[in-house]
């Protein structure tokens, strides 16, 4: 358009930018995780904020005990079936925009706990933005995940993020209601019954529809 050049010449003290870039820059520079330690991964999560690893360099060190003040939920550890409704409620209580990091093998897939007591992947309950492998992951891996999440945040549009009614949010991730993703139909005969589906994150689905 060239409009920004005209403005820059006429008003040199004014900086023009896209609204998305400006807001995403503010959002990604101060991610506030919710304090939600579930297992041994939580020890590494705490360690990521210590002086040695210093997550504060990337603006995500303010762990909040209230989900109302948090942007990121770091699911650090195995999610038992008894804990799953609690986790979902905490996620529902977080205001938009909100993101989820699934930390470690157990939160991502159930890990070694392939049994009745553990939810086989936290993505059956909440939409996950970044997965971290490892058992437990090192603090550096969590920091890397935060940086990946910052990349993801910077590519979003403000219009993707708004509070939706709780009923709709709950409806959106009821397992089994979503189409099976690519490749899994071919492997359907060999996959165990307990993992028949995966869930895309919410704004990914909204874009495709």
């Amino acid at each position: 358009m060239g409009l920004e050049n005209i403005i820059a010449e006429a008003l040199p003290e004014v900086l023009t930018t896209q609204l998305d870039s400006l807001i995403n820059w503010a959002r990604k520079s101060s991610l506030w995780p919710a304090t939600f330690g579930l297992a041994c991964c939580a020890i590494e999560m705490m360690n990521a904020t210590t002086s040695r690893n210093d997550l504060a360099r990337f603006g995500a060190e303010v762990f909040r005990a209230s989900p109302r003040q948090a942007d990121v939920m770091i699911v650090s550890g195995r999610v038992s079936r008894k804990m799953a409704p609690v986790l979902r409620r905490i996620y529902d209580q977080m205001p938009e925009p909100k993101w989820v990091i699934s930390m470690g093998a157990c939160a991502t897939s159930g890990g070694v706990f392939d049994n009745y007591a553990i939810v086989q992947g936290v993505d059956k309950i909440v939409p996950v933005d970044v997965y971290i492998p490892g058992c437990p992951p090192r603090p550096e891996m969590l920091i890397h995940a935060v940086m990946m999440l910052q990349d993801k945040v910077s590519k979003e549009s403000v219009r993707d993020r708004k509070d939706i009614p709780e009923e709709e949010a709950r409806e959106a991730v009821v397992p089994g209601t979503l189409p099976v993703t690519d490749g899994s139909t071919a492997r359907q005969n060999t996959l165990p019954e307990s993992r028949p589906y995966t869930i895309a994150s919410r704004h990914e689905r909204r874009r495709s529809s």
Partner: protein
């Protein structure tokens, strides 16, 4: 009944056989006083197990707690066990008793058929039995008659089945879904 640290250093070759070992004096004393409580006595690995008929378990427990020679004032544990679907009797409930004054232990065992998994509650004897019995109910479906609050304690409230039974599938009956 093992009697504390002096028994630990003894070689266990004679204590592993159930027939060859002479009974502990406390067991013989108990047998003399209440023979109807004792179904069978098993000595193995330096431990004593008394199989108690189900209807006598509360009387035996309250007696052992206050008995001057026993003084089993501490209930270490109550746990269930599933011997297998085809076994008869299928279930057992184990009571691990310990005396903090005499420093000895004994295990009481109640055997149960699959059709009738009722046991009288001992939560009136030791109050700590409350949660132990809830856990045994939760995991094995053993029903403790007279328990003040027999609810699930570890598994979610809406859980179907009893998770530690041998015929319970390892991954549960259905994949998780939030309802």
């Amino acid at each position: 009944m093992t009697s504390g640290p002096e028994n630990i250093e003894q070689p266990t070759e004679q204590s592993t056989g159930s027939e060859s070992t002479p009974s502990h004096p406390l067991v013989t004393a108990l047998q003399r006083e209440h023979p109807e409580w004792i179904g069978e006595v098993i000595h193995a690995f330096g431990e004593t197990t008394i199989i108690v008929p189900r209807e006598h378990i509360v009387a035996a427990c309250s007696f052992l707690k206050t008995w001057p020679e026993g003084q089993f004032n501490f209930l270490s544990d109550i746990c269930g066990a599933d011997r297998g679907v085809e076994e008869e009797p299928r279930f057992e409930v184990n009571y691990h008793l310990f005396s903090t004054t005499k420093y000895h232990r004994v295990r009481l065992k109640v055997l149960l058929n699959e059709e009738d998994t009722h046991v009288p509650s001992v939560s009136g004897v030791w109050r700590t039995a409350n949660w132990h019995e809830r856990e045994t109910f939760d995991m094995f479906g053993v029903i403790f008659d007279g328990h003040p609050d027999l609810r699930r304690i570890l598994l979610p409230d809406d859980w179907q089945g009893h998770a530690l039974r041998k015929d319970f599938p390892l991954r549960g009956y259905e994949p998780y879904s939030l309802k």
